[in-house]
Amino acid sequence: MLDVANLSVTIAGRGGAIRPVRDLSFSVARGETFCIVGESGCGKSMTSLALMGLLPRAAARSATRLALDGTDLRSLPRRAMADIRGNRMAMIFQEPMTSLNPVHTIGSQLREVWYRHRGRNRAAGEARALWLLDRVGMSSPRERLAQYPHELSGGLRQRVMIAMALMCEPALLIADEPTTALDVTIQAQILSLLRSLQDELGLAMIFITHDLGVVSRIADRVAVMYAGRIVETAATADIFRRPAHPYTRGLLECIPVPGRIARRQPLPAIPGQVPSPAQDIAGCAFANRCDQVRDACATARPPEAGVAAGHLVQCVLYGQAGSELSCPS
């Protein structure tokens, strides 16, 4: 349903161009949750803003294909793009505390989205808002409509944000770390809420997170991003059971395991630093930190190889046919 090929974001700066997102290609099917996971600064949020057409002014987007349900988003005029935002694709953000306007009631902010895309019909907007507030699990939705954001807790505000995103029945929901600012119990509630809403409404969802625990709970498919590139894409179970890319494996090893802490072993960390997005990377971006680096890594971009059905990895270890056998596991 969403089809992206070679998506790049370039920010022109005084010290040369910065490329936080480099040649991303992926697609998301209806009803599917596609997780983009990666550490801070790997370009996750830039990717989501690029998809929505909400990049900061200095940033430019390029892609060979960027289509939502067959509509080419690349060439859309601003006005038409704005018609799609909030209508066919919607977004929820990391910070529920600041994502609602403090001077308007919940009800008027929800209705506003309806007015924007479905016309100024107060009764219809209010009915939809009520239904959604109830759906996202808020008690006494009618009273909530008259409340201001400061009267709600962070978890409730994030529920309102979800309701707001779903006002016009979007086909695609982009969730940019929607649970990061919430505490763990609320996080679990929001995740299961998103899951059930998705099943009910047939939403496609792009879920951006840095938390592999969240990934395991919500994702159907996962893309691991590193330094602006997707290094590995696979079904969720495959990523956890058979991680192929050395970076993915490193990430998974960094998850704290209770037993290990009891044995007073330090949490493993991937040595080295992420290359700066301003750098030009000829070969594999992870080469300088990889424990299985080859000569070829530094010079040429590793080819995309399939290790299993639907499991793609950009790594020279898997470059040649049959090399899967050499996969160190």
Binding site: L54, R85, M91, V113, M138, S153, M161, A165
Partner: protein, 310 residues
């Protein structure tokens, strides 16, 4: 943190609403209450002038010139002071109280309309500059600097001298000159708000820039520009009085307080009340508006502001 879900109890007892909290703070703020009280009286007096005024403010009577106000009968035994003319009469025998009452209208009308015109111009420019930045900001900032380089009274004098003076000219000239503070304040405030998450959220919901400025950013600016509005109102009233005093503002026989001051200046030594009364009224009005503005700032954004009167 507790997160009420569908199973939780009904909505918790609403905390004090922001409106109620603000009203509460207003009542406790002495400066605000004094300012608001004086201003309310002045506005009422201005509105009800035709009902309250004991005489026609334009009716001259040469036989009854310079009758002193009533307290001259009480304290100095003046035989001419009479309850018929509580504040006495002016050089042309017009009832001073009636002229004062009608004068309040002029001062308030000029203060409010110039401040509103300025607010519209300044807020619009400031929001555009703060939201779009870049070239738009450069142009607006240039306009603000240009405006700040212009000597206010001098330009007002020149325009009025060239075009001829009337109430309308005065309001327009001052309105077109006093917008700088609005622009400066809304520009910076908009820059901060434009980066707010709820603005991004609104864009993600498909809002146009006009909608975002009008419905997301503007309501959040209200505190700032209402305070500036009161201060500019006081400013405009003083400038009107100054221009009228110089003979280039409101034209006789309209009863403007500044004009009354000017007309009374020959009597300053022998009948000081002729300038003391409009002077005191002007003082009280400007003070009241400034107290109100100051109070509004304390009341709407109370954090970190004490103030001697608070």
């Amino acid at each position: 943190m507790n997160d009420a879900t569908a199973t939780a109890a009904p909505a918790p007892a609403a905390p004090e609403s922001p409106t109620a909290a603000t009203l509460h703070r207003m009542r406790r703020h002495k400066g605000f209450m004094i300012g608001a009280g004086i201003l309310a009286v002045m506005v009422l007096v201005g509105l009800l002038a035709p009902l309250l005024a004991p005489h026609d403010p334009y009716l001259q009577s040469l036989a009854k010139r310079r009758i002193p106000p009533i307290w001259h009968a009480w304290f100095y035994g003046s035989p001419r002071a009479t309850t018929l003319h509580l504040l006495g009469t002016d050089q042309l025998g017009r009832d001073y109280l009636s002229r004062m009452l009608y004068g309040a209208r002029i001062s308030l009308a000029i203060g409010l309309s110039t401040a509103l015109i300025s607010a519209v111009i300044g807020t619009a420019l400031g929001m555009l500059a703060g939201y779009f930045r870049g070239h738009v900001d450069a142009v607006v900032s240039f306009l603000i600097s240009a405006r700040l380089c212009v000597p206010l009274i001098l330009v007002a004098l020149t325009v009025v001298a060239l075009v001829g003076s009337s109430l309308m000219t005065l309001i327009l000239v001052l309105g077109l000159l006093l917008w700088d503070r609005f622009a400066v304040i809304t520009r910076t405030a908009t820059m901060q708000l434009a980066n707010a998450d709820f603005v991004l959220a609104s864009r993600a919901a498909g809002s146009s820039w006009l909608r975002i400025l009008a419905s997301e950013i503007f309501p959040n600016l209200a505190n700032a520009w209402i305070v500036v509005l009161t201060l500019e109102m006081a400013n405009a009233i003083v400038i009107e009085a100054a221009l009228s005093f110089l003979g280039l503002g409101v034209q006789a026989p309209l009863p403007s307080w500044g004009l009354m001051l000017a007309e009374g200046r020959n009597d300053m030594f022998f009948n000081p009340w002729i300038i003391a009364i409009p002077g005191a009224a002007l003082f009280a009005l400007v003070l009241a508006i400034n107290l109100l503005g100051d109070g509004l700032r304390d009341v709407t954004a109370p954090e970190g502001r004490g103030g001697a009167l608070a």
